[in-house]
Symmetry: C2
Subunit: 338 residues, 2 copies
Amino acid sequence: MGVSLKDIAERAGVSLATVSNVVNGYRPVGEHTRQRVQKAIDELGYSPNLSARHLRRGRTGLIALAIPELNNPYFAELAEIAIREAAGHGYTLVMENTAADREVELQLLEGSRRHIIDGLIFSPVRIGREEVLARTADSPLVLIGEGVYDVPHDHIAIDNVAASHAAIAHLVAIGRRRIAFIGAAPSGDRQSANLRMRGYREALAAADLPFRPRLVAHTDEFGRLDGMRAMRALLALPEPPDAVFAYNDLTAIGALRALAEAGRRVPDDVALVGIDDIEEGRFSTPTLTTIAPDKEEIGRLAVRRLVARIEGTEVAAPLTVQTPFRLIRRESTRTPGT
Amino acid sequence: MGVSLKDIAERAGVSLATVSNVVNGYRPVGEHTRQRVQKAIDELGYSPNLSARHLRRGRTGLIALAIPELNNPYFAELAEIAIREAAGHGYTLVMENTAADREVELQLLEGSRRHIIDGLIFSPVRIGREEVLARTADSPLVLIGEGVYDVPHDHIAIDNVAASHAAIAHLVAIGRRRIAFIGAAPSGDRQSANLRMRGYREALAAADLPFRPRLVAHTDEFGRLDGMRAMRALLALPEPPDAVFAYNDLTAIGALRALAEAGRRVPDDVALVGIDDIEEGRFSTPTLTTIAPDKEEIGRLAVRRLVARIEGTEVAAPLTVQTPFRLIRRESTRTPGT
DNA sequence: GTGAAAGCGCTAACAA
DNA sequence: TTGTTAGCGCTTTCAC
């Protein structure tokens, strides 16, 4: 199986250590020696055996990104950024799909992959503070998304309550009064749904609008189908909403479809705002107004902080970083006269 | 760093080899011994160090899935299936994004990850038969998608020419005569685009329709934006098409948006068919008629054949497997009276 | 049925 | 600036 350091050493007439130093640059190597070694490497086509390196170093060069749904374009876009950033630091990123399953999330925390990954970027949805605190694995952990705070780990997230606020404020500003929320979690165990719900209620209160429980649609999951069903239910109300704030763009897209099927005009009859700024929302008809998190920043920061922890270059106490977001107004809230 | 075999051996009062055999089951272990060892494993919380195991065995337990765009939901859906299947075989799947870049594809073939992966599932778009034949890496390779045939590797794909045929035949059947194709590759180096183009021409000929070069729209990439631009160009023609066959669902979605912006009705003015059956097309307005490959089958089969090659259980000559596809008719071709 | 020991390829401590 | 060597944790051959 392939060319080893030893082969190179023999070919170049030097010791193993010297070849290793040419490859890794830990200590200086004479110019003449370096060239001979490099020549041997090129000729024989050497590449280091990572298993051996990692066995020795105690690290694998792999980091994991655990997300609740690979199918959600938001996470696919985030993953793409994280993969690129990880590669830039010499790490390979492996994706773990938790499928928003509590058991899978717990296993991940317990270090089911302990020996294969150096660190974990984790977007938990079914577990909370207690479970994270009870974590037994000892490799670095960076949390992304919402839901778990006050734990001794770096955490990158947008301010969900503020984001919801901004969405509702926008709907209020264009004159809507019966604003529905799609995507409340059924059992309350989905933290981010709770936060967005809280922002919804706070913003309603701030605008002096009554909170109407019937305008809150619960969903099991947060995909297109869930959004569509929820919207149908809202449309069946005696007094349907004139605006909808959806948990994410995916449920908003589903709502859009339900509205089209029901023959409602968007935004004239019902205005619509989502969260995530997935590309799909820039091409739907109508295009979708959304709260855009800075995915680039989230992905990059998460990887950077994780790598810093792994390599011990970061020693400061774990930080919770709020990344910026902005409202992107598109056709789904572009009403005449506003 | 963790509990090792040695710790277990000491605790249970047996040799390393015995513990290894309890863990791996390569040779029988006495019942009494097994229990003592198992007890020690449970108490100490042992899990094998994979780097060490892999160094010894010469394998890493990692397989890679290299795709041209993680952002394309088709590949995200495929990846999800492949990850699940790989896990079922005890492998971890890492995703490689080639970004449809020829250089990246070549590096992959040369085994840039030689020592980190046991095998590769590869969806090439910029390279052809020669490059695959010149491959230097020696780990197993399974090709998916179209473009490279007659190479000594397993290959899973749908019959692209037939798929295009089916799409065009459907458009002809609902009475369309000026059928455009969106997604011809500019330089001809994108194999699958060429194949779909071929199917398009053949099907036109079979229906006694003239091939009109002006109805063929070239695109640089194959995303929503590309589809939108191409559609705009087609609409600017003196005699625009009455139907469009798009390279994939993503370009079709872009085309749909261009049609909406231009105020054209779909399917009344222009009917539309894509390929891939991504979920987005089930929720767009109108919903998108598509050629649906059997993603489940493709993902599962690719992983299975790769694992079989890695583990040497498959010794038969490499096979090209054509997986089934079917036309799913939705609103974008649902015309009155057909 | 069980044990002893070699060695996978590499890094790093120590020596020269 | 370069070389020697121990040992990371595991599997596997050979011996008992």
